[in-house]
């Protein structure tokens, strides 16, 4: 599904333990996606856009900067919980993202305590498995009894 199908919420969202973030994908990632992020995010490390330089440094080709898929997961997380309700977001980069990869974004509520949800999220690539693991906390609304 397209990312923008979930409207952004200003108010805290009701979430309960075990609930999942709407799964979404991005890609196949192009070199243009990487270059666009380099310009937008101010990361002009040539290892991400200069093919001969990346190969001379021992890589098969250029690869995406971590902040590209961390940012893509971040907007999905913000869509899920509402941007102003996010308290913390922590990402650990565990793999690289290459041109041609399709990325899958997932997340779930680990627990809810005192109106704050702890969330566990991940990004997986079509060629390398898990590339990013994340945790986040967000203020949530009380679940409405069914």
């Amino acid at each position: 599904m397209s990312v923008t199908e979930t409207p952004l919420s200003a108010a805290p969202v009701a979430l309960t333990a075990g609930e999942a973030m709407p799964e979404s994908t991005a890609g196949p990632l192009t070199r243009t996606d990487i270059v666009r992020y380099a310009g937008a995010g101010g990361d002009l490390n040539p290892i991400h856009h200069d093919e001969p330089l990346a190969q001379a440094a021992g890589f098969p080709t250029v690869f995406g900067m971590g902040m590209l898929h961390a940012g893509m997961l971040g907007v999905r997380l913000a869509r899920w919980v509402g941007p102003d309700n996010l308290k913390t977001y922590k990402v650990r980069f565990v793999g690289q993202v290459w041109p041609g990869d399709v990325l899958t974004f997932t997340g779930a509520v680990a627990s809810v305590d005192d109106g704050v949800a702890t969330l566990e999220l991940a990004v997986a690539s079509s060629t390398g498995g898990e590339v990013l693991r994340a945790t986040a906390t967000a203020t949530v609304a009380a679940a409405v009894a069914a």
């Binding site: 952004l8 108010a11 937008a40 490390n45």
Partner: protein, 153 residues
């Protein structure tokens, strides 16, 4: 080579506007073209008082540093061909709206070394950046771990 003597030192401070054109460009680069991220009218229609900030928009400070996103790594003395981004963590202490101005100040929290799995000594640097609002309050705190892998034998 990351310099361990930099622990506790400031790596630079930059004041920057959280500007809607740059936020729009960033949101598009993240494949999310929702007008709420940059248009005050769309934000109001969605129930926001002000245009909300997307979580990783702290990177916009990098446009105001001479070396961009690489500025802290260069200031640390890291070898850029052996540099990896290990972790990034944000604490959102109060909402920031598009249109505000922030000052980002980065300091070195820790530098440690560890034997790498593929030989050589890895150096890990932890740097923290405070994004301070004009009223002096820290609005966002970001902590990054940069990894310099071992030099080839």
């Amino acid at each position: 080579m990351i310099d361990p003597d930099l622990v506790g030192k400031e790596l630079g401070s930059v004041r920057f506007p959280v500007e809607r054109s740059k936020v729009y460009e960033l949101a598009r680069a993240l494949h999310d073209d929702d007008a709420v991220w940059h248009d005050p009218e769309a934000a109001r229609a969605a129930g926001f008082e002000r245009v909300p900030l997307l979580p990783t928009a702290t990177v916009l400070a990098d446009h105001w540093r001479p070396d961009g996103a690489l500025a802290p790594a260069i200031a640390l003395g890291a070898d850029l061909n052996r540099l990896l981004h290990g972790e990034a963590a944000w604490e959102f202490l109060r909402p920031v709206a598009v249109g505000e101005e922030l000052r980002a100040t980065t300091r070195v929290v820790d530098v440690t070394t560890r034997e790498g799995k593929r030989g050589g000594t890895m150096t890990l640097a932890t740097i923290a950046t405070d994004f301070v609002a004009p009223d002096g309050e820290v609005a966002i705190r970001r902590v990054d771990t940069l990894v310099e892998t071992g030099a080839p034998a």
